[in-house]
Amino acid sequence: MKLLTHNMLTSHVKGVTKGYPLLIKATEVKVNDVDFNPQFVCRMIPKLEWSALVEAADLLGHRQDLPSELVPDYEKNEDFLKKVHRALLEVEVIEGCLQCPESGREFPISRGIPNMLLNEDEV
């Protein structure tokens, strides 16, 4: 699971109102090499919840000096974009789980794939 995806996921456990962001508990993390594409990164930044991204990257130990606030004029700042690119697309949680911040319910991640299915009685 990449942090780009994590940034968009929320807990849908019944009755939960503050299900975002999900807590990451990773037991295996990998860093891949993905072609840097500045245009894509620029398009994604406005859609992100910036603080959730920084928190998640920090938790995984891959924050790499990402600022807590978005820098203005980031479109031309290639260094900054490269760091964002790395956090969004190169860092990948292979094994672990995502935890709902309100209910504590855990969604397992195995082989890089989160399983978001709820059980019958949680629906």
């Binding site: 990449k2 780009l4 995806t5 849908h12 859609k47 697309l89 299915l117």
Partner: protein
Amino acid sequence: MAEVEAEQPVQVGVSKPSGVPVGAYDKKCIFCKIENQEMGTELLHSDEELSCFRDIKPGAPHHYLVVPNQHVGNCKSLGKEHVPLVKQMVEVGKQILQRNSVADLTDVRFGFHWPPFCSVTHLHLHVLAPASQMGFMSRLFYRLNSYWFITSPFWCLNSLTEEDVRSVMARSVCAKSAFELWGRGRTHSELRTSLLNYSPEKMSPYVHKESTYRINVYTFNKTLLFADRIKKIDALEYLPFEGTVSLKSPQHIFCLLEDYGTDPNNIPEHPNYVYFGRWIADGQRELIRSHSVKSRHFIGNTSMDAGLSFIMTNHAKVKENDLVFDPFVGTGSLLVACSHFGAYVCGTDIDYNTIHGKGRSSRKNQKWRGPDENIRANLRQYGTQKMYVDVMVSDASKPVWRNAALFDAIITDPPYGIRESTRKTGSHKDIAKAPDGSYADSHVPVSQAYNLSDIFADLLHFSAQHLVVGGRLVYWLPVYRPEYCEEMIPHHACLQLVSNCEQTLSSHTSRRLITMEKIKEPKELDGLAGAPDPRCSPYHGHNAFREKYFSGLNKRSSKEDTRADVDGK
């Protein structure tokens, strides 16, 4: 391909009369008996010359037969003298249609079967309406040797710049090649006149002394010998080419195009039409072969065909750096197509095994899936692995995304309940749990049937929430044809219908490729208006499409059952 439903010309074979006797009445002929009121068949029209009655095996909602009262053998025995009779038969056919309230008189098929394909040797004109609702077998059976069935594969367009043409051809999998038209005609001499009239100023950049060129000959529906192709090129020597021929790497390529019709069983000696033009670009039809599902690492029972995947990608206007989502991703065929055009892709599916690439293989000679079978591997196969964002196991009816406009496009093929089941998590039963309230790790949540109409209501609602404004939703909608009407297409106040294209699956079912564009945010509407449209419930009851799909197959057995009941009593 457009079907031109113009007034159907009736094929009358003008040939010398055969030895078939033209008598007044043949007591062995069933049609003679019918029009003589001997069979108890209802006659919808009866006069001195002609009668009309319903076909016993209808190939369309309206299917009538118009027969002359005289026993004329079959259409091969017709001569010039029969033309007024045949015209009259067509007239009667039209009158019957009007009397039976057939609304669209352009959506009709008239014709005779050419022997030996006619069942009864008494001349009879078939009248079928609406032609668009003819079943698959009927379409084959009642297909005339006529040019109107498929329009020409050549399409002439005006007012396009070369750049426009190149950008369309860079994406289209439906168009084979594009040419700048220099001349055309029904014969080669008409072509010559047309070419000599083409402005020399427009030709000059491509025919001057320093240029290199080659001329290709392309014949549609006919194979030409190499020598004949050369002859045709030589016949164009009147063209003012001053440059040199280069077969390997010419600067400009020209093409002589010959149209020999669309019937492979009836190839004319000379072309119906010829064109000459300068080649601009080829379409992307090669993608259909290169991305064929047959050679893909990871497939499933319902993997989308390559051609259709690319068509859907184009409908959704997927472009470089878009983020595309498929909520019923299966084996990722649609994502493969989107990634080819530079979009980043993600998907979800409720089926754990498919997402993880485990379980039984869909290939004939293979029992279990291999280690390289998953969506990521599919993207890797085509060199687009860097476009892979994520896939997840998730229930499309319970979305896991935060409330924001995240996706540029949503492209999907929801389950119809035929080959893959429609499921969502949830249960009617009480499931026993361990005392501490936890489930075993291997617990697979019980699923219940996901009502087909809910799938589409949820999908539209999801798209309205999570698409960017201007983003598109493209999906297949299964349809039971006899009951189809345009009002059945699901609505949503935030989504505008862009297109609705039918693909026939069987005589009574088809699926429609629906394209919608998000035009406003849900929060701009008041609470109720944002909710799924209550008119959007074309599927009544539980999995009604599945029932109707199989009803045609089961009709015979259910009839036998009722008969048995009656007999048994």
